[in-house]
């Protein structure tokens, strides 16, 4: 068995200790490399901790405006349909300010792959509430815990998306080796759907934000298992135009 960091991860990443972004960066790099498409891929990278990626990730990239990565990616893909185009976004980016751009990429079934990191808060800006923040979760803008009577329920975007006409939608997690392998498979399926011009593919990944959760990394993974996964069910929701679940 041979394992070596993929070529795209050409230098140490800049995330905090135990941050899930590092694992996801590597998975994306591995998939692109294994599919032999990493040299012809283009990433639209979100504002958020995602924006630390381009410096350490050797794929042609563009820094999208906050929230607009999916629209930026659609612009690229429509011009260069033969390239593999993906976004890399946080939950604040894709679901708060960028809700419309994200959903409309799905509605238009743009032939792009959205990699969406759900760490249930705004990591980069210091841990404010995100649309995905759990009920009663403490963040810097919900210091007494998220009160859903005022903020609404945590947002399950896949629920909103899964009845649209899209190619592939799945949600993975990083809490252990098995989940990481599954998540990698989802990412691969998504890119394959794009290669087959099936349309929009979307991978949500539950990921720890150790710094802002103020949790030890291992505790953070346990928290995901215990508290996050019950709210955001794992699995494949749409595949090759067929809706599962």
């Amino acid at each position: 068995m041979l394992k070596k960091k993929p070529a795209a991860c050409f230098v140490d990443n800049k995330y905090c200790p135990g941050c899930g972004h590092g694992i996801i960066n590597r998975l994306v790099a591995e998939v692109l490399e294994e599919m032999g498409i990493y040299e012809e891929s283009i990433g639209a990278i979100a504002v958020g901790c995602a924006s630390l990626m381009p410096e350490t990730f050797a794929v042609d990239c563009i820094q999208a405006q906050h929230g607009r990565a999916a629209a930026v990616a659609a612009g690229i893909k429509r011009c260069r349909p033969d390239k593999t185009v993906f976004t890399y976004q946080g939950d604040g980016d894709a679901l708060a300010i960028g809700f419309s751009e994200t959903m409309y990429s799905a509605i238009r079934n743009e032939n792009i792959t959205v990699i969406f990191v759900n760490n249930s808060n705004f990591g980069m800006t210091g841990g404010q509430m995100a649309p995905t923040t759990l009920e009663n979760q403490k963040t810097t803008t919900t210091p007494r815990g998220r009160n859903i009577a005022e903020t609404g329920d945590p947002l399950n975007v896949i629920n909103m998306m899964k009845d649209l006409n899209t190619a592939y939608i799945a949600r993975g997690s990083l809490t252990n080796n098995a989940n990481i392998m599954k998540t990698k498979k989802y990412i691969r399926n998504a890119f394959e759907a794009q290669q087959n011009s099936e349309g929009f593919s979307f991978i949500e990944i539950l990921s720890p934000c150790t710094t802002n959760w103020k949790m030890d990394p291992i505790k953070a993974m346990e928290h995901i298992e215990k508290n996050v996964t019950p709210v955001y069910e794992l699995g494949v929701f749409v595949e090759r135009g067929e809706k599962n679940a």
Partner: protein
């Protein structure tokens, strides 16, 4: 050449690998790398090169190769 290589300068001491290693082959000695983290070490005797540590590590620390023949 070792079958499991640890790029210790990349380690940020999150302990995911230690938690997930099925063989208990990984541990933290206490030495600190340039980034300031007490990095991970391996007990080569215990390691089966299963690759799990590689998989769970966010920081590209592990590399698994066959032993030189």
């Amino acid at each position: 050449m070792e079958k499991l290589i640890i790029h210790k300068e990349s380690c940020k001491s999150c302990r995911y690998c230690i938690e997930n290693c099925p063989k208990g082959a990984l541990y933290i000695k206490g030495d600190i790398n340039e980034k300031g983290y007490p990095y991970v070490s391996v007990d080569h005797e215990k390691c089966t090169t299963c690759g799990i540590c590689y998989n769970v590590c966010p920081d590209y620390v592990f590399e698994i190769q066959e032993r030189e023949v």
